[in-house]
Structure formats: structure tokens, C-alpha cells
Symmetry: C2
Subunit: 200 residues, 2 copies
DNA sequence: GTCTATAAATTGATAGAC
DNA sequence: GTCTATCAATTTATAGAC
């Protein structure tokens, strides 16, 4: 009875471990330079066994993307607990600054994945990374909208664009300080935004 | 006499053709997904002959980077003809907007290369893409400095970061309009910048 | 469900004829 | 200088034993 449960639990565990390690290694090494053997080794799973859980390498990439997507959900859910939309956005920016060392070393996980997946002939995964970015854009737009700002979606575009840009530059120049400086500027920018006066 | 010149001229031509096509194809397909055969075919050079001009694939990547670097030089030299630094920056932004279709399809050539080269274990090419970005940062910083603005280097960082960010988003979402909208915002931002009053 | 062995294909790079 | 043929290594994916 107990024996029939354990293997199943371990099987689900292996799948999760593979997805988790895939997310980490694909971020660090990139999609093309990462072999299935790399991921299998990190997840402590024999190479041939990988195909029992993921039929192709693309499916593993997709699983990694889902991991990042889940992390994003977790973060926005936590931010939604804050009553003030402006505080939510500020806390988001502070989270980016906190991650500056990782960003300087490997870039934004979703952003670099988007760049890499775009260069693939397949065409099946091209849009997937865009979906994650779009969700972040929509959540940000909601916050600007709640603040009563005009053009909330343009503000969201500016914010996320700034994040992707500073991550890329921090990564290209290997300088985490870029994240800190541009992050501080974004915080100041947020403070300067005012809703149009509705009383007139 | 004339015969001895022709082959030499054609040899230099082949090298240039290889570099030109490498720059184009590496931008479109990415470094890892582009084979030497791809570049050789596009440059109309037999595969085995490529190694006479470039000893390794990395050297071809480096040559492609030099091409992009030369294009950047050409652009800034042209912009330097304009008397007003602010006009130089505005014309630069307008050039970005003009390239929106290419950016939406393949991203910024230097930016995507920087992302890809960072993911390589080699370590020899990691810094090379950063060098090109840094030159653009320095040129921009010079313009802000000429305008008498405080923190010219931070302004440059904001500008180039915005460019990289909007290119990445336009590419990830396959939407050239993002370049147009964010470009317009940058133009407005440039107009709003004022030098600190020196008379007081 | 798990794992080993190996197939099948691709690709960076070289040898050597012309 | 130019090109063909090919090597050597890597990597995705499968077949089949346990």
C-alpha cells in the first residue's frame, strides 16, 4: 500500500526537479548551449530517462518557461496584498534591484529567453516567451490604471521596457550598479506621476 | 599584370562578403543556430574555403560584430555633422524608429548579440559585444554633457537602456508599433530636459 | 517506470589535391 | 589561393532490457 505511493511521488518529483533545473540552467547557459545531459545531470536523472517525462527538448524549454511564469504569478500575488498600487509598483522595482547580481551575470530570465527563442526556426516557441512578458505588462497596466493615470498601458510599456533595457545593459557590461542606478531613477519617476485632476 | 590583381581583389572581396553576410545572418538566425555552411552559401563561397579567411567560427562572429561597430561609427559621424547635440540625439531616436520593422523581427543587432555571446562558455567574446554598447553609451554621454546637463552618463544610460528595452519588447511581442510609441516618448523626454541655470 | 546502449543527424574543423 | 572530401565530436532521440 505504502509502496504503491512512493514511486508515484518520486516520479512527480523527478519531473519537477527536471523542470526546476531546466529553468536554472537554461537561464545561466542559454538554450542552445545547454544539452539534455546537462539538465539530466543537475536533476540527478539518467539522460535516457528524461524522455519519459519530456518528449522533446522543446518541451523542457516550455517547462522552464512555465517555472518562470509561476514565479511571476507568485510575485504579483504577493504584491497585490499591498493596498496602494503605487507601492506595488515600487516594491516590484525594489525586487528588481535586489536581483541585480543575477541580472548582471545572466540577464532577465524571461528577457534572455525571449531573445533566444525568437532566433529559432521552429516557430512553435517564439510566442511563448512573449506571453510571459505580456502578462507582466498587463499587471503593470492594471496598477497604472488603478492610479487613475492616463495611458496606463503606455506607462506599463515604459516601465517594463526600462527593466528589460537595464537588465540587458547590466548583463552586457557585467555591472550590477546599472540596475541600482536605473532602478532608483524609476522609483523617482513613479513618485513624479500624478493623476489628472478630475475636479475641474 | 592585370591577372595578378584580379584574384587578390576577389580574395579581399570574398572576405568582405563573408563578413557582411555573417553580420546579417547572425542577426537574423542567432549565433548558435547559424552554421558556417549558412554563411558560406549566402556569401557564395565553398564551405571549406571559409577557413582560409577565418580560422574559427568565433572569428566570423567577431567580424560580424566589427561590421555592426562600423555601422555605428558611420551613424555617429553623420550625426556629429549636426550643430545641436539635442538634434543629434533626436535624429538618433528617429533612426531607431525608422528601423522598427527590423527591430520587431530580429531585435537590436548588438543587443541580441550581447545576450547570445554572454551565454557562451568561451569567455573570449563575452566582452566584445559590451564594447560596442559602451561606445554608444559614451557618444550619448558626450551629447548630454554638451547640453550642460548634470549626470550626463546617467542620462545616456537611461536613453540606451530604453532603446534596448523597447527593441527587446518589440521583438518579443512582434510589434513594431512599440518602437514608434516609446520612440515618441523619448523625443518628448529629450525636449523636457533642461540644463541647470548657471546665472544664479 | 527506470535505465543502458546506441542510432541518426548535424556541424566545426582539417587534409590534401589542384 | 581555391575547393572537395572527410574526420571527429557532439547531441537529440529511440530501442529495448530490466
Amino acid at each position: 500500500m505504502t509502496d504503491s505511493v512512493k514511486p508515484r511521488a518520486r516520479a512527480a518529483d523527478k519531473r519537477r526537479r527536471l523542470a526546476t533545473e531546466a529553468a536554472r540552467i537554461l537561464h545561466e547557459q542559454g538554450v542552445e548551449r545547454t544539452t539534455l545531459a546537462d539538465i539530466a545531470r543537475a536533476a540527478d536523472v539518467p539522460v535516457g530517462n528524461v524522455y519519459y517525462y519530456f518528449k522533446t527538448k522543446d518541451e523542457l524549454v516550455l517547462a522552464a518557461l512555465s517555472e518562470h511564469s509561476a514565479h511571476l504569478d507568485e510575485l504579483t500575488n504577493r504584491l497585490d496584498q499591498l493596498p496602494d498600487p503605487r507601492d506595488r509598483l515600487k516594491t516590484l522595482i525594489e525586487a528588481w534591484i535586489d536581483q541585480r547580481e543575477v541580472a548582471a551575470r545572466y540577464g532577465c530570465p524571461t528577457g534572455t529567453l525571449a531573445v533566444e527563442l525568437d532566433k529559432r526556426a521552429d516557430g512553435t516557441l517564439d510566442a511563448e516567451a512573449g506571453t510571459v512578458v505580456r502578462r507582466l505588462l498587463e499587471w503593470s497596466g492594471d496598477q497604472f490604471r488603478a492610479l487613475g493615470l492616463s495611458d496606463p498601458d503606455d506607462h506599463a510599456l515604459t516601465l517594463i521596457s526600462a527593466y528589460q533595457g537595464m537588465s540587458l545593459l547590466a548583463n552586457a557590461l557585467r555591472d550590477p550598479d546599472i540596475m541600482a542606478r536605473q532602478g532608483a531613477r524609476l522609483l523617482h519617476w513613479l513618485d513624479s506621476l500624478e493623476a489628472p485632476d478630475q475636479t475641474t
